[in-house]
Amino acid sequence: MKLHEFQAKEIFAKYGIPIQKGTVIERPEQLDGITLKYPVALKAQVLVGGRGKAGGIKLAKDPAEARERAKAILGMDIKGEKVRRLLAVEAVDIGAEYYLAFTVDRAARRLVSIGSAAGGIDIEEVARTTPEKIVKVHIDPFAGYHSYHGLEMGRKMGFTGKLLLQYAAIASSLARICDEMDAELVEINPLAVVAGSLLAVDAKLIIDDNAVFRHEGLPRNEELTELEAMAKAEDLSYVELDGDVAIIGNGAGLVMSTLDMIAHFGGRPANFLDVGGGATTENMTQAMDIVLRKPGIHALFINIFGGITRCDDIAAAIAANPPKAPMVVRLTGTNEEEGRAILQKAGIHAFTDPEAAARETVKLAGAR
């Protein structure tokens, strides 16, 4: 779960990481009573990236201009996300910009601290074009993270004296946040030199969805579309795409492969829903309801390989509520015979071969 900048900064402040003085507002009028020194920076609080380029960050030199700009940003649409809140902070004169983060290195199967003297820009771009500017320290799960890791990294990033000590202290705090908050990613970009000291000008914190249960008092942030939220409430995995073929399958790998098959035969997936392992008749009924709510669906492809999931449960759901959209069913695996019998009685044909079924689906979608 992604936190907003202001939420991440509240946590940073608790751990002693220096941040700008600021306040969160939802309406332009709320700027009136604030005690910030002008000029201020107004920053849209959205979970999607690239808000600066989209016009979601503006400077204001006085209260009148701040109200004007706040009015423009609040309610703005940034990559499909509506801006509901602004973070107003005292503008600062930024010197050198650094990057610092802790995240999971999948290949090393450890946490890793990543630092760079080339901060303030897209770090993946830095990693690709000038990998020598990236400094990494992997954290031994038994020995843990210690201050000397930060000092070593800081030296490689060119810090000396007071800034070096500050850098190591901030890195230690970030390591504690990563550990104690079950972070997938905790990032400061830029970590900037302002008036001779380091300051976390931006803050990113993503908490592992699987660990949310052991952290009380976390905000509930959702970047889901309405249908994605509906599916999540039913413990189904739904993702929206932009074609016209709705897809239901069981198991993430099989579903991804089904999307690829549809594309291979010239179709365009509109969305997909993974009913997971052990899907029941109720799950399947909800699944069909959710994928077909999306406008502009021209065909539905149901691709089930029964393992824990039983073909007869799936067939019963389809037969009880046959969808209105043109549909192709591929059904094989556990209780396949029973499933086929149920569908046959309802006059529905079920394919065994996934490729033949995918071709038929694309044909149906194209006929519309």
Binding site: V104, R106, A107, R109, R110, L111, E124, R128, D140, P141, F142, D179, D182, E184, D208, D209, N210, A211, F213, R214, S237, V239, L241, G249, N250, G251, A252, G253, L254, V255, M256, S257, L259, D260, M261, A263, H264, P269, D274, G277, F305, G306, G307, I308, T332, G333, T334, D353, P354, E355
Partner: protein, 288 residues
């Protein structure tokens, strides 16, 4: 032969009194696996499907000689369950449980590594050596003993490809699912090293998906060290960047983890990569 499990494997089911633990414990027995014990703290002394239930692994091992584990314990208790199995040197430790926090997975994997224990998963279907032993949740009826070693990151896609192999008359030495989480124990490379050493395995199938760089790493190893034919398939060619595609690990971030990148690396390493799962079997046959 086969890898990781065989006729000598004595399976302990952790969480055997739960819904999934009991259901799949029975299926493993039907398959012919030697399921010799189960654990369920507080329920020691009972039995499930004739299998004795213990409170602790230490007692189960002392009384039944269990030497491998299958974990169905829910995510909140899964780290503790895995560490207990590793401490008793059960090997492999197969973790079926999904939604385990990634910080817990890191600790489990590091502890297993230090103890020299193989962890398979979490969030995978387990592994099956047809005619010998199954640990996990793969359907019993798909398999047939034979020369193909299969390693995959997904569950149902593994079933799809195993069924294709079996229908084409190609049996399997071992079929193994690594799990769909960002951090898992056994890697593609480790599984492929074992298949390369296993005299029964004559051809290897690797089924990957978007996210991470494990397929690329395995491809480099295959190019340098594997003489047996390898057939590959990668799911997620049409997945958009930044979207989590069901598996927690299946997300393309920045320039990393794309299907195109993986396919290119695998083809460069001499792996025959097919564009549809249904083409795996015929391609394997052509190489055997």
């Amino acid at each position: 032969m086969a890898i990781l499990v065989n006729e000598q494997t004595r399976v302990l089911v952790q969480g055997i009194t739960g819904y999934q633990g009991e259901f799949h414990g029975r299926r493993m027995l039907e398959f012919g696996s030697k399921v010799v014990a189960g654990t369920s703290p507080g329920k020691g002394g009972g039995a499930v499907a004739g299998v004795p239930v213990f409170d602790t692994i230490a007692e189960a091992v002392a009384q039944t000689g269990a030497n491998a584990s299958c974990i169905f314990v829910p995510a909140r208790g899964a780290k503790d369950a895995a560490l207990e199995a590793i401490a008793s040197h059960l090997d492999p430790v197969v973790i079926i449980t999904e939604h385990i926090p990634v910080h817990d997975a890191i600790e489990i994997v590091a502890t297993a590594r230090a103890a020299g224990v193989h962890v398979v998963g979490p969030n995978g279907p387990g592994l099956t050596s047809p005619g010998k032993c199954k640990i996990g949740i793969m359907p019993n009826t798909l398999f047939k003993p034979g020369p193909v070693g299969l390693v995959s990151r997904s569950g149902t896609l593994t079933y799809e490809i195993v069924a294709g192999l079996t229908n084409a008359g190609l049996g399997q030495s071992t079929a193994l699912g690594l799990g769909g989480d960002p951090v898992v124990g056994l890697t593609f490379q480790e599984a492929i090293e074992m298949f390369a050493r296993d005299p029964e395995t004559k051809a290897i199938v690797m089924v990957g998906e978007i996210g991470g760089a494990a397929e690329e790493e395995a491809a480099r190893y295959i190019q340098a060290s594997v003489k047996k034919p390898v057939v590959g398939y990668i799911a997620g060619l049409t997945a958009p960047p930044g979207k989590r595609m069901g598996h927690a690990g299946a997300v393309i971030s920045g320039t990393e983890g794309t299907a195109q990148g993986k396919i290119k690396a695998m083809e460069a390493a001499g792996i025959r990569v097919v564009d549809l799962p249904g083409r795996v079997a015929e391609t394997v046959r052509g190489l055997l």
